[in-house]
């Protein structure tokens, strides 16, 4: 018998294999527990809220009576806010992504832009609310509680996300495309806008949708700029005081009346479905247009 097969060695090996199995089991447990928390959350919301999803709920606005209260007012507020956010953050984000990736010289101020963008992407969202309150409402005098101010605030929050994903999408377009365009006489600006940008667009759109989905679920900054309003009618324009979907969830969760538990859960179902649709669209775009070079 060699020294590999002594009883001590066999016992040690058994212990090591047991440790291996324990470690592997810990991994499974970690994933299963995390996912069952998600399942528990979703099942709780669906079971409490599904009874409240009817036409009355989908078409109504906020009300003090849980049976009359509906989601359309807040939903329209969310749509208006998102429209402002998209209109500002998409062009700004794409243009700065193009500049930083294709044209920016190695200068001190460009470094500052890059540092700013990386940090803004990680700044707590409530800080953007403080910015919105101090600058847009107190200083510039824009209407409080309005989708306009909410949209601008969320746009500043979403822009870094679009810039970062936009830069990655532009970076993944192979240099040969640029070389070919430049070789046949296109100017650098023409090269970027006629050739690089169209090829990078699916990636940019995917990043934009993900950023917009994050903005749609955001509550804290909108709380600070006063979108915590009781709106019994849908907003007519971006300057009307309005609520948004997550804010409606927050407001209803604060109500003492038990009838609002169903409303809150039903509103959560609507919000999650909407987010799921947006993320599904992003995945579809990525799979459909993604080019492997």
């Amino acid at each position: 018998m060699s020294s590999w097969h002594t009883p001590e060695a066999t016992a040690r090996l058994k212990k090591r294999y047991a440790a291996e199995r324990r470690f592997k089991a810990m991994g499974v447990v970690a994933i299963v527990l995390s996912l069952s928390f998600l399942a528990f959350l979703l099942i709780t919301m669906v079971s409490k809220g599904i009874g409240g999803l009817d036409m009355q709920f989908l078409q109504g606005s906020d009300s003090t009576n849980p049976d009359d209260a509906g989601i359309w007012g807040a939903f329209k507020g969310s749509l208006l806010t998102m429209a402002v956010t998209l209109a500002l953050s998409f062009p700004l984000g794409v243009l700065s992504a193009i500049y930083l990736e294709e044209f920016a010289p190695r200068k001190r101020w460009v470094e500052w832009v890059e540092v700013s963008i990386n940090n803004l992407a990680a700044v707590p969202s409530i800080i953007f609310g403080l910015l919105g309150l101090a600058i847009f409402i107190q200083f510039a005098g824009l209407p409080r509680s309005s989708p306009l101010v909410g949209g601008i605030t969320l746009a500043l929050m979403t822009m870094p996300v679009i810039v970062i994903s936009g830069r990655n999408a532009i970076k993944s377009v192979p240099p040969s495309i640029r070389d070919a365009a430049l070789a046949v006489g296109a100017s650098p600006v023409q090269t970027v806008f006629h050739h690089v940008l169209p090829l990078a667009l699916p990636g940019i759109l995917t990043g934009t949708i993900i950023g917009m989905a994050r903005a749609l679920g955001e509550t804290a900054p909108l709380l600070i700029i006063g979108m915590r309003v009781f709106a019994s009618a849908p907003p007519q324009s971006v300057t009307d005081a309005s609520s948004v979907l997550p804010m409606q969830i927050f407001l209803w969760s604060d109500e003492i009346d038990q009838g609002f538990v169903q409303n809150t859960s039903a509103a959560i179902i609507v919000l999650l479905l909407f987010l799921l649709a947006m993320n599904g669209l992003a995945i579809y775009l990525r799979n459909k247009f993604e080019t492997r070079w």
């Binding site: 291996e20 991994g27 994933i31 707590p124 822009m159 538990v261």
Partner: protein, 459 residues
């Protein structure tokens, strides 16, 4: 003239001039190489000349018009009835201007009601002046642009210079946002510190803000933020991390080292859904389901009078929210460890778990630690979960079943209350915001640098 109409009119004019300029430029076209720029670039050139100066003039006018309207009202004969006192006079004018915008409704003073017609006339007059001025500049710019259309005119290089300026301006917005955040936080915090000394705020242990209290030097005694800093760290950096680090790390290890491709394909996106659920949903779930469970558990282990709002409930839910974040950061760092190190360890006879524990994790540690720092920065900046589940009581205790409050909770509560914006208690929200911003900034900068250096080390 409403701003929207002016904007639409300007853009319509620019579009029309695009076509006009292109049509004129086409007349110069005498075959390949006969022109310095394609006709459509002449279109863009003229459209820019219509749009940019007019927009600039209009923006400047919008900025100075309120001041001009104010002085015009004062020099109007109808303003003779106004008192000489500045404060009251301004209040009356402000009221009359609001009423004028609302067709004369909403006046409380006789003086302002009398002033409404004059104010309306002046406002209308000045908005017309602005609109006409803008139109004049637009047409002048257009005429200049149109006159430049020649075969030899390098319209493309001019347009491209403008495009570059636009790209630079867009990049500048990020810096402006950062400056805006830092500037507004420091400005409001500076006002706050004229009422309350920084030492009282940073080291005081009694937090009991009252936005309606009289402003006295003793106010600072009730604005000591230590309990908030403690609550924030206890919930975000301790409880949440006790949940998120083991779960996130183990799921990353399992997904990258053990799981089959099929399981990974299903489990990874499923974990990412956890990160995509809005925080308000987590907050509601924490308050509705997790908090009562924690309370029952506290009663079960023998805590006296357990509350529904507890640091533990908020911390656990926040930890679950952070799991996918920790997991994906750990995933990246482990994947960056060179295959040769793993192969070397396995070749020496180590089991897979021994390789992971003794080789991969030590090698990936800088990246993992940086990921945890980013996770903490995210957790302490989270608002909705603590707002809905952790409570308002500023307790300085280490008992996880106690109700505790955080920096973000207090910012949100102080600024959504009915308090006066200029009251020190309300302004303290900005001081809290500055502390939060500073701490997360330091965490982010250190973590991003560690990640960068770590990646370079293995490349």
């Amino acid at each position: 003239m409403s701003p929207l109409i002016i904007l639409i009119a300007l853009f319509a004019l620019a579009a029309a001039s695009w076509f006009a300029a292109r049509a004129k430029a086409r007349l110069f076209y005498k075959g390949r190489g006969s022109m310095a720029a394609l006709p459509s670039y002449h279109g863009w050139h003229m459209a820019l000349w219509v749009l940019v100066p007019a927009l600039a003039v209009w923006a400047i006018w919008s900025a100075i018009a309120p001041g001009l309207v104010q002085s015009a009202i004062l020099s109007d004969p109808a303003a003779a009835i106004l008192p000489k006192m500045d404060l009251e006079r301004d209040a009356i004018i402000a009221e009359a201007m609001t009423a004028a915008a609302n067709d004369g409704f909403g006046t409380f003073r006789a003086e302002s009601a009398a002033l409404v017609p004059a104010v309306q006339a002046i406002t209308v007059r000045f908005s017309w002046i602005g609109a006409i001025l803008t139109a004049l500049v637009a047409f002048a710019g257009g005429a200049f642009g149109y006159s430049r259309i020649k075969a030899a005119f390098p319209a493309r290089t001019r347009v491209e210079t403008a495009v570059m300026a636009l790209l630079m301006a867009a990049s500048f917005v990020a810096i402006l946002t950062t400056i805006g955040i830092i500037g507004s936080l420091i400005f409001e915090t500076g006002i706050f510190f004229t009422y309350v000394s920084p030492a009282d705020f940073l080291f005081g242990t009694n937090w009991n803000p009252d936005p309606f209290a009289a402003v006295t030097p003793e106010l600072g005694e009730k604005l000591g933020a230590v309990p908030l800093f403690w609550g924030t760290l206890f919930i975000g950096a301790i409880i949440a991390m006790i949940v998120a680090i083991p779960f996130g790390l183990m799921s990353a290890i399992y997904l990258t080292q053990y799981a089959s491709a099929n399981f990974r394909k299903f489990a990874k996106p499923a974990l990412e859904i956890l990160a995509g659920v809005p925080t308000v949903v987590y907050g509601y779930f924490a308050a509705l389901t997790v908090a009562p469970m924690v309370r029952d558990f506290a009663a079960f282990v023998g805590v006296d009078n357990p509350t529904t709002e507890s640091a533990l409930a908020a911390g656990i839910v926040m930890g679950v929210m952070i799991i996918p974040f920790v997991s994906s950061m750990a995933d990246d760092s482990i994947a960056a460890v060179p295959q040769s190190m793993r192969d070397g360890s396995l070749a020496m006879g180590a089991t897979q778990s021994e390789t992971i524990k003794k080789v991969l994790i030590p090698a990936a540690l800088p990246g993992i630690v940086a990921g945890i720092m980013l996770a903490i920065s995210r957790a302490i900046g989270e608002t909705m979960i603590v707002y809905m589940a952790a409570g308002a009581a500023a307790n300085l205790s280490a008992n996880p079943f106690d109700s505790m409050t955080t920096v973000t909770y207090q910012i949100a509560r102080l600024l959504t209350g009915d308090g006066d914006f200029d009251h020190p208690a309300t302004l303290s929200a900005f001081a809290l915001g500055l502390v939060l911003f500073g701490v997360t900034l330091v965490l982010n900068v250190i973590a991003l640098n560690v990640v960068k250096r770590y990646r370079e080390a293995y490349e």
